[in-house]
């Protein structure tokens, strides 16, 4: 998925895309401000995050029991629960459902899990048309693009690009007015909603105690997706379970605040089974697909903490590295700090280098509503992949260690460094060689001091006073 040289190149290229980065800067800072303001207004925010983290950890420690309970309750409500060990299995289950019932037009509410398994392509391969109904995802889809953020899929696009895509693909008059663009998309989607027969959604939380699915959206498309079509398929990772309905408010209070700074999402939908005889609307069938896809293995690993993630996207917004490359450079469905932990765990060691795409500044940890220590997880992933780093780097680090283990060599090294790094008259090195080449690509290097501290100490500082 992301080979080393590819990653370095993708990142370098992404840092030159001024238009995208300007859009990402604006949007991420706006969301950081909104999140900070909404948390400042929330009483006991620290205690709430603590509680959320504790609940998530507790659930994972007892996941098999909670899963069993959820399956039992959801089934009792009339839902059919499927278990998919991996992505292809999830796609098979859902395409089979569609094929068996002759379903032809699917509407989708935003779901990262469906991106993870590549569901759209699988459905389209058997002739089911899939239409994304979240506005951002809709634009990504008609523009044949990929989402670059788990909450804000078109964070990399500016108004002009959206206007171009809509005019080109929908044949509407070109406008850059967001309200007008939304109106056009809504009109287009209304017609789709009238004709669709399959609704696909992700799930934000699944309540073990009651078998309830909770869906948080902002546009109302989620409710259309679950009420119009005759079949509703909900796809979720097995880690999305929470124990009790009473736990839900803890997460609802945190999720929207962390994502967008809203006190609460606009639409919070609780789904308890398919349509009952007395219900005026709702799907005839509800299928819940529980996806493992490596999650059980992560649960057994020392990095299990990553599964407590509620996919709020706060760490992406907070991350200065994400802000300066955008989401596509990560080459993964899940970009940003949490993505750099999740991706290598889901897709294997070929993606391990993503863990290096961070300065470990910790802004993600500060932002995380469930207190995931993302920098620590990144360091652990780096450690797992250290032996597979380029041979030159490993050799340099070995030499460096040897030097640092011997104070006389270290001292000699200081002198050598001073001789090698002559720099210009003003004492600054502008173009370094070898390992320093990448340093001086973007910044100068001061020449090492004429007299190091230890020499100064020996020469005079020790005997002062």
């Amino acid at each position: 998925m992301s080979r080393r040289s590819d990653l370095r190149q993708r990142v370098a290229q992404a840092t030159r895309n001024e238009r995208v980065l300007q859009a990402v800067h604006l949007a991420t800072w706006r969301k950081v401000d909104a999140r900070e303001q909404s948390f400042a207004a929330l009483r006991h925010a620290g205690a709430l995050r603590e509680k959320a983290a504790r609940l998530r950890r507790h659930t994972l420690e007892n996941l098999p029991a909670y899963l069993a309970q959820f399956v039992e309750r959801a089934t009792a409500l009339g839902a059919t629960v499927h278990f998919a060990p991996d992505g292809p299995a999830a796609c098979r289950i859902i395409t089979q459902l569609a094929a068996d019932r002759g379903l032809r037009l699917a509407v989708k509410s935003k779901s990262m899990t469906s991106e993870e398994v590549g569901l759209n392509a699988a459905l389209e391969a058997i002739g089911v048309r899939v239409v994304e109904t979240d506005l951002g995802e809709f634009i990504v889809q008609i523009d044949r693009d990929r989402p670059s953020h788990i909450i804000t899929p078109i964070i990399h696009k500016d108004r002009r690009e959206v206007a171009d895509a809509m005019a080109r693909e929908l044949g509407c008059p070109r406008t850059e007015d967001p309200a007008e663009l939304t109106r056009i998309a809504r009109g287009y989607l209304r017609d789709i909603f009238r004709r669709c027969d399959l609704g696909i959604t992700g799930v934000n939380f699944a309540v073990a105690e009651t078998g309830t699915l909770c869906l948080c959206t902002n546009e109302g498309n989620g409710r259309m997706t679950i009420t119009r079509p005759r079949v509703h398929v909900a796809l979720l990772g097995i880690e999305k379970i929470i124990p009790r309905l009473a736990d839900l408010p803890v997460f609802l209070k945190l999720l929207a605040r962390s994502s967008t700074g809203q006190p609460m999402g606009v639409y919070t939908t609780l789904i308890n089974g398919p349509r009952r005889p007395q219900d005026p609307d709702g799907p005839q069938e509800l299928h819940i697909v529980l996806l493992d896809n490596g999650r059980s293995a992560i649960l057994k690993s020392p990095l299990r903490e990553v599964l407590t993630c509620v996919r709020c996207g706060a760490c992406l917004n907070a991350c200065p590295a994400y802000r300066n490359v955008g989401g596509h450079a990560y080459g993964s469905v899940y970009p940003g700090p949490i993505g750099s932990v999740v991706t290598p765990l889901l897709y294997g060691p070929a993606c391990d280098d993503l863990a290096r795409l961070s300065s470990l500044c910790g802004a993600c940890r500060v932002a995380c509503p469930v207190q995931i220590d993302i920098p620590a997880l990144l360091v652990a992933l780096r450690a797992r992949a250290a032996d597979r780093q380029p041979v030159g780097k490993r050799l340099l680090l070995r030499i460096w260690r040897h030097v640092m283990e011997h104070p006389w060599l270290y001292r000699l090294g200081q002198t050598v460094l001073r001789c090698v790094l002559r720099g210009a008259e003003d004492g600054w090195v502008r173009s370094g060689q070898g390992p320093l080449r990448n340093w001086t690509l973007v910044r100068d290097l001061p020449r090492p001091a004429r007299e190091s501290f230890r020499r100064m100490w020996e020469a005079r500082l020790r005997d002062e006073r």
């Binding site: 990142v11 370098a12 840092t15 030159r16 980065l21 800067h25 200065p320 300066n324 490359v325 863990a355 290096r356 795409l357 961070s358 300065s359 470990l360 500044c361 910790g362 802004a363 500060v366 360091v379 992933l381 780096r382 450690a383 797992r384 992949a385 250290a386 780093q389 780097k393 490993r394 680090l397 070995r398 460096w400 260690r401 030097v403 640092m404 283990e405 270290y410 600054w428 502008r430 390992p435 320093l436 990448n438 340093w439 690509l441 973007v442 910044r443 100068d444 290097l445 001061p446 090492p448 001091a449 007299e451 190091s452 501290f453 230890r454 100064m456 100490w457 500082l461 020790r462 002062e464």
Partner: protein, 253 residues
């Protein structure tokens, strides 16, 4: 007025000074300033010559065997010292937070070292009961950089408090990373450079030209970036400002 509150048992502490490899090599003046300030407040300062690096660069980049090999040397190097004081919060954090959990070290030994290791400013405040703000003489406007790896050692609010009486012009986004990140800076130079651009933009927007930065690695990154971009920013450690204010050191031109 030097803001000093002397209590009997705090007099003449034995302090081992851990200068850190970057400060030793690139910014010896910071070490000199820190030593003079510690002495001014009554410490007997030692410099164990066996010290080199705490292993942080290797730790952060996942080479934990190398990190452990270097960290193992530290308790021995500072065995005879009552306290270990360092001008770098990130090196203090390496010893105090990451060290004891590192495989390949004697956890007890490292824990004992961690317990006696202090970052310079917090040592002045919490052990020597120095009112740092009261010691600083107001001069030109200053802004500051909060080093990310100081999290858990001191917070932005602490730094603001220490700079209290100066004409402080906080940068927008006070806790924004400078983009250094150890090997990250050379693994992804273009990205590190863009993060640096953002940081320098904030510092420049503060209106001050003197930047207080208590972390040699961040200073290396930001001063190098400012120089490359022709920005008139100067970087100083709080120890240097203290030493100058207390007239233990000449101001730098």
């Amino acid at each position: 007025m030097d803001g000093r509150v002397v209590s009997g048992d705090d007099a003449r502490m034995d302090v081992g000074f851990f200068v850190t490899c970057l400060t030793d090599t690139f910014f010896p003046r910071v070490g000199e300033a820190a030593v003079r300030v510690l002495r001014h407040f009554g410490c007997r300062v030692h410099f164990p010559p066996q010290q080199t690096c705490c292993g942080q660069p290797a730790y952060n980049s996942g080479f934990h065997e190398h990190a452990a090999a270097l960290l193992r040397r530290m308790p021995k190097a500072f065995a005879s010292c009552e306290f270990v004081v360092t001008p770098s919060a990130s090196c203090a954090a390496m010893i105090k937070e990451h060290g004891p959990q590192l495989a390949g070290v004697q956890a007890d030994e490292v824990r004992r070292l961690a317990a006696k290791t202090w970052e310079f400013c917090t040592f002045l405040r919490d052990r020597l009961h120095v009112n740092i703000a009261a010691c600083l003489k107001p001069r030109e406007p200053v802004t500051f950089h909060y080093p990310c790896h100081a999290r858990g050692i001191y917070e932005v609010t602490d730094l603001r408090e220490w700079l209290g009486r100066l004409d402080v012009r906080p940068p927008p986004r006070t806790d924004l990373c400078c983009g250094f990140g150890g090997l990250f800076a050379v693994d992804f130079p273009e990205l590190s450079g863009r993060m640096l651009d953002d940081k320098l933009e904030m510092l420049a927007a503060s209106g001050a030209r003197l930047v207080i930065c208590n972390e040699a690695a961040c200073t290396l990154q930001m001063a190098g970036g400012a120089h490359r971009r022709g920005l008139p920013l100067r970087f100083r450690h709080l120890a240097e400002l203290l030493a100058e204010s207390l007239e233990l050191m000449e101001g730098e031109a």
